[in-house]
């Protein structure tokens, strides 16, 4: 009984995902009110009708009371969590007790994160995002929604199975020698070779990494690349897992899972995607005008051309025969996915900058991922700067600070010149700018009349208009191009990709089987038992680097895991998952140390700060957050980044690192020993976590 829904303020469904139980429940409810013999309404309509009163009430409360709903719970323990991002209302529902409100809130934020990675700056304009999420074309909409649904399912699966997604930190394969060799190989051979090739079509590899299932074997960033944030890296791993789903235990999976795991093979069937029918030849002409409400004649283009999703989950493809008849070309592995990632440069921080992601499957379970900078990506930065400027201006104007807005004359003059130049420049590279041009002209004529007296509240809608136009140009540059048939998609040439693939395959062929096993037995509890009798499990996390270490916890029906097998292993796994949730609950309220005696187990949770040399820094009062604050983690909203920034205020000029340790002991062990174990563990684990990402 699970559901996630995104709705606009006018109660239009922009996206939904439900599990089969929820769908059945809704249909039963609807069926009851249905006349005999009548055709049941489309599921989307049912869900729309049922949720509409909630959505409308929510906006009524916000309008009239200034306070919106955050959650509901019922006597049979169904939970509803609501969160409004700009004009989109997200509602997550659970009716089977598997997820609490925290989980639902996290799911909502993760969904939003995935949408940001897929749509970039377009998410900053609600009208554009609305169209993007709900293409008018039914086929396209179905395809997009299927894709988002499968991303969400992949995330949920990973969060249930994988400790690194439980705590939202990347897990590395602990094998320092191999790891180092691979990094060196990526740097000296692979990236260098690609970046010096003429077939790279103007792209430049910034990051390259090798994943074994969800675990990171090696990660290399080129010198002039900004750091890839943990949040983005985790989101990318979800996307890779979605493309090439891997079950934790290939040989142990249930029959339906076998189908799953064999699914990637589909990608190798040489089925070219010749026509890109959905985009056709008109892709280039997808004009910015479709975003301009006042231009209906151009608006008729709406609903075409957003095939940024070249890959669609093969399982879903197979399962939905209805979709097969739709013209959805099988994924062409050489087509990159467009992703929008944060870039940190000296000049500042630019969220959601366009990149291309190439996922090259080395073997089932092992994937090489290349992230490239695409040509024109400096356009994205300019657009972002303009967007920010207009957002600031809008804020100042709507707060009634005309004075300060006018004081900012010089910067506004500056903005004017730059934007003029920008529009001229963009016009030359085949991008429709007429709409932007006309709104900008209108803006200027209003703003710069009578020596800047035009800066008043009346300009606010024009600021918004400018933002929408800028987002429209951005969308044209970085999203539409992908599906454009004309010049063929921008990408590294397939042969270059093939060569890269073969290079890495050759390098790793001898290690392949080892890696697959290692990913399931990264570190094992057995090696700690002697030193720490009574210790059942631990998770150690370096929040500064966004990495974690934990003994493997594979629970399958056939293989015996560290925890043994059967109900006990599942029970302990449940305890660990619960402990992580509990520790977050207390951390949210400012508690950095928690110990719990729960049944036959004893749990500890510690969070602390160190400087670079390992010197322990004094604990400081942590912020106390409201119940409905963003979930604590790194994937969706990076709580730890904020925490580090907050803590570093008193440690200027010093690198501050943040660590967490969770342990589970047998309850019979005296507490003094347990605490001793914890401090020894923290010391012992400090070293491995220092393996540099780079």
């Amino acid at each position: 009984m699970k559901c996630l829904l995104i709705a606009s303020e006018s109660a239009e469904v922009l996206f939904y995902w439900t599990d089969p139980e929820f769908e059945q429940n809704i249909q039963e409810q609807y069926g009851a009110s249905q006349e005999e013999g009548e055709k049941p309404p489309a599921f989307e309509d049912c869900i729309n009708t049922l949720f509409a009163p909630i959505i409308i009430s929510c906006s009524t409360m916000v309008d009239r009371l200034g306070d919106g709903y955050t959650s509901f719970s019922t006597e049979n323990n169904h939970s509803y969590v609501l969160h409004q991002f700009e004009e989109c209302l997200y509602i997550a529902v659970n009716g089977d007790g598997e997820e609490g409100e925290e989980d639902l809130r996290r799911k909502i934020y993760v969904m939003k994160k995935m949408i940001e990675v897929l749509f970039g700056v377009v998410t900053l304009s609600s009208p554009l995002l609305r169209k993007e999420l709900r293409p008018q074309d039914t086929e396209q909409r179905t395809r997009l929604w299927k894709h988002l649904q499968s991303l969400l399912e992949t995330y949920s699966r990973l969060k249930e199975q994988d400790q690194s997604f439980l705590v939202e930190a990347v897990e590395r394969l602990i094998h320092p020698t191999l790891c180092e060799q691979c990094i060196e190989f990526l740097e000296r051979s692979l990236v260098q070779q690609i970046n010096s090739s003429v077939e790279r079509a103007g792209e430049e590899v910034l990051h390259a990494f090798i994943l074994v299932h969800t675990k990171l074997l090696a990660f290399y960033s080129s010198r002039n690349a900004s750091t890839l944030t943990s949040s983005d890296l985790l989101a990318l791993i979800i996307m890779v897992q979605n493309m090439y789903p891997s079950n934790i235990d290939l040989e142990d999976c249930a029959p339906e899972d076998v189908e799953n795991t064999s699914a990637p093979d589909i990608f190798y069937t040489p089925e070219p995607s010749p026509t890109n029918r959905d985009s056709g030849t008109d892709g280039d002409s997808v004009s910015s005008g479709r975003y301009e409400e006042s231009r209906p004649e151009e608006g008729s283009h709406g609903g075409r051309g957003t095939p940024i999703f070249q890959f669609v989950d093969p399982d879903i493809q197979m399962a939905e025969d209805s979709l097969q008849t739709l013209e959805c070309p099988p994924h062409d592995p050489s087509t990159p996915s467009r992703v929008f990632l944060e870039v940190m440069l000296k000049e500042g921080c630019y969220p959601m900058m366009p990149h291309s992601m190439y996922c090259l499957p080395l073997w089932p379970g092992i994937t090489l991922v290349l992230l490239t900078k695409i040509p024109k990506s400096n356009l994205a930065m300019s657009i972002y700067v303009f967007l920010e400027a207009f957002a600031k201006l809008e804020k100042r104007l709507s707060e009634g600070l005309e004075g300060s807005a006018a004081r900012g004359q010089t910067s506004i003059q500056d903005l004017r010149n730059k934007l003029d130049k920008f529009i001229r420049a963009v016009g030359t590279v085949d991008i429709q700018t007429s709409a932007l041009q006309s709104v900008w002209t209108e803006f200027k004529s209003r703003a710069f009349i009578r020596g800047g007296h035009g800066f008043n509240r009346g300009l606010v809608p024009w600021c918004r208009g400018m933002k929408t136009q800028l987002c429209g140009v951005y969308r044209q540059c970085f999203m539409a191009e992908n599906g454009v048939g004309g010049g063929g998609p921008q990408r590294l040439s397939p042969s270059l990709q093939d060569r890269a693939l073969i290079m890495v395959q050759e390098k790793l062929i001898d290690w392949k089987d080892f890696l697959l096993v290692k990913s399931r037995r990264n570190i094992t509890m057995v090696s700690y038992l002697e030193e720490f009798p009574g210790l059942i499990h631990f998770i150690y996390i370096d929040r500064t680097a966004g990495q974690m270490i934990a003994p493997s916890l594979n629970i399958t029906d056939r293989a015996t895991s560290e925890l043994g097998k059967g109900p006990l292993a599942h029970f302990i796994k449940g305890k660990i998952w619960g402990l992580v949730n509990t520790s977050r609950l207390y951390l949210q309220k400012g508690y950095s140390t928690v110990t719990l005696r729960d049944g036959d187990y004893f749990f500890c949770y510690f969070l602390w700060f160190e400087n670079e040399t390992g010197y322990k820094l004094e604990v400081k009062e942590l912020p106390i957050l409201p119940d409905d604050s963003a979930p604590i983690g790194m994937l969706a909203m990076d709580y730890y980044r904020k925490l580090l920034r907050y803590y570093s205020k008193n440690h200027q000029g010093e690198v501050v690192k943040c660590y967490e340790l969770l342990t589970v002991h047998l309850g019979v062990i005296p507490v003094e020993y347990i605490l001793q174990h914890c401090s020894q563990l923290a010391r012992k684990l400090w070293e491995p976590s220092r393996i540099p990402l780079l």
């Binding site: 919106g68 959650s71 006597e75 529902v93 309220k589 140390t593 719990l596 049944g599 409201p626 605490l675």
Partner: protein, 591 residues
């Protein structure tokens, strides 16, 4: 008054909404609003809240096929109860734990049905205005807990047993036992200034009976009604018809019924089983006003007198007059203080299976448990006998107990099939200044003059003695505080022992309360959790619980410099042994 302001910030809204009144398109939302607190809220805001919350609750409960329990907003939250067309909502700030606010709403609803019977019936019998006064009274009664901690645990306020000679407690228990010699007496409790001294009833029953204290004070303080030379037969009626003195300008012509609280089954913690069952309604005396030395402002006066400190003086002053006149039918005058116990008699609704519950589920310790096995418990099924007893008694005199038969009150039909049927019971009350003896008796108790006399006489002298002792010792005030803060919650008796004063304290006290509230919610939904230590930069709190109790402990004093890294020499981890050691002298045994 301070209490009221605190209370106001605690619960910001309460309303009862009857969806059956708003069915059609054209029906205004206001038609469905049965009661809204605060009453001065502009009508359009009332309509907004009721309409939206009721609408959303309905929609959600249809989606989930289950009633909504809690609605959270960014800045507030609402505990919700839905039953049939009725919807109750109690709103509070987000800091109050979910479990506490939900409990509180249940208590409130139960309080209502305890004294008024099923909700639908009540709204048929009484006017909306009458019931509004009652709701207001129940609300204020529940709001005036002593400290924030009491609210977190929704517990009974008890007298601080550490400052009282244990013999007095024993004496109180013996008085109750003595009363039970009369087979018609089921169980009883003794209250002193709004706090429980001893009780044989389950906590949720006790909390309902405690409203009496407030009520009887008010009764006394309204001389008018008592002035009328009436037979007690009429008294109960009279009382409910007399104007409440609470409105700013008391209008004698306006009927002012009193509000009282509701019951819940002793054995079952979910309270709703009672409230919707058929039951008895009964009248209670109107709201008090204490035209008293302690200047209670008229508006809030019906928020009942503050507990505890509830002026003994006030009563004395006020009741003096009342006494003289009203008791002229009694022989002799009041000799000394002029204190009177007016015992309005209430018939209360007790679940049919009360006895069974008491018999097997009450785990009160020792004597209490024994006392609880009601004798003569063949409480008739859902028989609806309505009786009221009014016992007027005067200190130092032979009390005269008058009985009122209220049989003509329309019986409550079994309109709701859910929940165990409610049974009519009667409450006997005997008041000596700040001390109240309340007994739950069989409805025909009043018919048995001999029994009434027996109970009255057997307890009179001991009650006087007990009151005198309590009065002198209870003045002691809070004892010296140790270098630590603790709270000990007894889940069975629903009582709290703490050395935390009610006044807003320093940073550490606030931090203790915050941790306690967090840990209490954690305990309430994690069965296997036995012990926890949580620490932030400022303080570490240790919590432990067993089936019967929860204990929270904080060691005061400057937080030692620590880095938060695991360290077995960390002082936070010595809290359990410190708590065991320190709390022994408070009668808390953690071994």
């Amino acid at each position: 008054m301070a209490d009221n302001t605190v209370a106001d910030s605690r619960y910001n809204y309460f309303f009862l909404y009857d969806g059956s009144k708003v069915k059609g398109e054209g029906d205004p939302t206001r038609a469905g609003i049965c009661y809204f607190y605060p009453e001065e809220t502009p009508l359009d805001k009332q309509e907004l809240l009721c309409g939206q919350l009721a609408g959303v609750s309905r929609c959600v409960s249809e989606l989930s096929s289950s009633p909504v329990r809690l609605l959270r907003l960014r800045r507030s939250k609402f505990a919700i109860r839905m039953k049939g067309d009725f919807l109750w909502a109690l709103g509070c700030s987000v800091d109050i734990p979910d479990v506490s606010i939900c409990n509180l709403l249940d208590q409130l609803i139960n309080l209502f049905s305890f004294y008024n019977g099923p909700i639908r019936k009540s709204y048929q019998i009484y006017s909306q205005e009458d019931l509004a006064v009652r709701w207001a009274r129940y609300l204020s009664h529940l709001q005036e807990g002593t400290t924030e901690l009491h609210h977190i645990f929704s517990c009974l306020s008890t007298i601080d047993s550490t400052h009282i000679d244990p013999l007095l407690l024993l004496k109180a228990a013996l008085i109750l036992q003595a009363c039970q010699r009369c087979p018609l007496v089921l169980a009883g409790c003794i209250l002193f200034r709004g706090r429980v001294v001893s009780t044989q009833m389950s906590p949720d029953l006790t909390v309902k009976v405690m409203l009496l204290q407030v009520l009887s004070q008010s009764t006394q303080s309204t001389p008018k009604e008592v002035n009328r030379p009436r037979k007690s037969r009429l008294l109960s009626r009279t009382l409910s018809d007399t104007p409440p003195s609470d409105p700013p300008e008391p209008d004698p012509a306006r009927p002012a019924p009193l509000s009282l609280h509701c019951p819940s089954t002793p054995g079952s913690s979910t309270s709703d089983d009672l409230l919707f069952s058929p039951s008895l309604s009964f009248h209670t005396p109107p709201g008090p006003l204490s035209p008293s030395p302690s200047t209670v402002s008229p508006q809030i006066s019906y928020h009942s007198l503050p507990n505890g400190k509830s002026s003994h003086e006030v009563e004395e002053g006020v009741t003096g007059g009342l006494h003289d006149q009203s008791l002229d039918s009694l022989e002799g005058g009041d000799s000394e203080s002029g204190l009177i116990g007016v015992g309005p008699v209430q018939s209360c609704d007790i679940p049919h299976d009360l006895n069974r519950h008491n018999g097997d589920s009450m785990a009160l310790d020792g004597e209490k448990a024994g006392a609880l096995g009601f004798r003569g418990q063949n409480s008739p099924g859902c028989g609806r006998r309505r009786t009221g007893i009014v016992a007027d008694e005067k200190e130092g005199h032979r009390g005269k107990v008058q009985l009122a038969d209220t049989g003509d009150v329309p019986p409550a039909p079994c309109e709701n099939s859910s929940g165990p049927p409610l049974t009519t019971m009667t409450l006997y009350q005997h008041r000596v200044r700040g001390l109240v003896l309340a007994l739950l008796v069989e409805p025909h108790f009043h018919n048995d003059t001999a029994a009434v006399e027996e109970v009255y006489h057997s307890s009179l002298a001991s009650l006087n003695g007990l009151e005198a002792h309590l009065r002198t010792t209870a003045r002691g005030g809070a004892g010296p505080q140790g270098p630590y803060t603790f709270a000990h919650y007894d889940c069975i008796q629903n009582t709290l022992t703490t050395n935390l004063s009610g006044r807003p304290g320093g940073a550490q006290e606030r931090s203790f309360v915050r941790a306690t509230s967090l840990l209490h919610s954690h305990f309430s939904h994690t069965e296997a959790l036995q012990e926890a230590i949580v620490r932030n930069a400022g303080a570490a709190v240790y919590a432990t619980r067993s089936v019967a109790q929860e204990t929270y402990f904080l060691q005061q004093g400057g937080a030692l410099r620590n880095s938060g890294i695991p360290n077995h020499q960390d002082s936070a981890f010595s809290l359990p042994s410190k708590a065991r050691h320190r709390l022994l002298k408070h009668g808390v045994n953690l071994l």
